[in-house]
Each structure stands twice: as structure tokens, then as C-alpha cells.
Amino acid sequence: MITVSLIIFLIVAVITLGSALMVVTARNLVHAALWLVVALFGVAILFGLLQAGFLAVVQVVIYIGAIVILIIFAIMLTQRNALEIGSRFNENWGWALGISALVFAALVWAIVSWPGFHVQAQPLDARFDSVAELGKALVASNGYALPFELASVLLLAALIGAIVIAWERKPEER
């Protein structure tokens, strides 16, 4: 039976996979980054379809708003021209295709053979508020308060690490 949500899912799935393929094959790096935006936006829509509205917003804000912008900055800093010179692919592309096919087969086998795979989702209770549940779980002491604090320490460490690594030292300091 064809429903509205199936049609939306199929359109979003085709767009997401097509733009992911463009990311992998595009010759122009800036184009690849823009295709990545499309793919991430498709995943955000899928989060919305799965009734994870908060994560859909986080996906757009953090992935598209921060991570892809950082990647575009890195492209601007490292490429003299956005087009790659020479072959895009390394010479082991045959092995790469084979290993990817193997990964695909292994994932399909692992998921299909897992008994929990066929649990079907029930419609959610109308009063169920996933944002409130998420917020409570993140600060509850019997929930995920400690990993939440650890994540903030990790982000601080990454911030300092990124500054230290990218710091351009003056020649006499080396």
C-alpha cells in the first residue's frame, strides 16, 4: 500500500543516497561539500520521520551549520584550486570496491540474522514528548548525567587540541 509517508521516505532516500554518491565521486571538493549538506539534510528529514524532532534540529545546526562549514574552511585553506589534479581515486580502487561489497554483505547478514530486527514500531502515545524525555535523561543522576559531563570535557579537550595543532609557529620557535 502506498501511503504519503512511504512516498516522502522514498524521495528522501533517493536524494540522500544520490548525494552521498556524489560526495564520494565528485571531482570538485566544494561541490562534494555541498552534496554532503544535501545528504545530511536528507538524514535530518529521516530523523523527523522517525519522530526524533530534537535530533533533526541538532543534525541541521551542528552537522550542516558547524561541521560542513568547518570542512569548507579547510577546503579553502588547503586547495589552490578546488578541482583535484590527476585521478580522484587511488590505484587500489578494485580492492576498495571489493572490500565495500564485503562490508555491505556483512552488515546485511548481521542485521537480518538479528532476531530483534523484526520488532515493529507502534504508534507513539500522543502525550509522549521525546524532547522532554531526552532532557530528563541527560541530567538525571540515574540516567546519562556523567556521560553528558564527559562529553563537555571531551569538547574542551578537542578545542584546545585543535588550537595547539593548527597554531602556526614562527620559524624561530621551531
Binding site: L36, I71, F89, S100, L154
Partner: protein, 100 residues
Amino acid sequence: MLPIEYYTGLSVILFTLGALGVLIRRNALIIFMSIELMLNSANLAFVSFARSYEGMSGQIFVFFVIAVAAAEVAVGLALIVAIFHTKRNIDVDQINSMKG
């Protein structure tokens, strides 16, 4: 509500595309973008299973994955820029020594 298999199938294909990108490309930045694709496919699988079991743990895990991905991107891109400063190149076929 669509069957959860649709979402998991999509995430498997997306993960395979990301793995292919990591293995096949020469430019370090494209490899980075492919890693983001793989992280996203894993997030999609987490959210779809969280939906089918009606629990919050999957969504909270995705939240932490996104936080770790942000940290990974900050450090990774700083490394790529630092490598570019010394080698003037970010082609992974050319980067085969740790120093100078």
C-alpha cells in the same frame, strides 16, 4: 509508520557508500566527508531502533555521537591543515612519513 527495515536498509547502503569513499579517494578532505557519512548512517540506525523499541537510549547515544563527531572534526581538520603547512599537499598517497 513505515517498517523499520526501510530505515535500516537505507543506513546500510549509506554506510557502504561512506566506506567506499574512505577506501577509494585520494584527497584527505573527501575521506573526512565519507567518515561523516558513515557516522550519519550509524546515527540513522540508532534512531530507527530507538523508535522501534520506544526507548530514549538510542537517541541519547546519537546525541553523544554528534558531540564526538564535532570534536573529531575540529581535531581532524586542524591536523589536515597542519599537514598541508608542512607538505603543501593533502593527498593521502603522498603522505607516507610522519615527519618533514
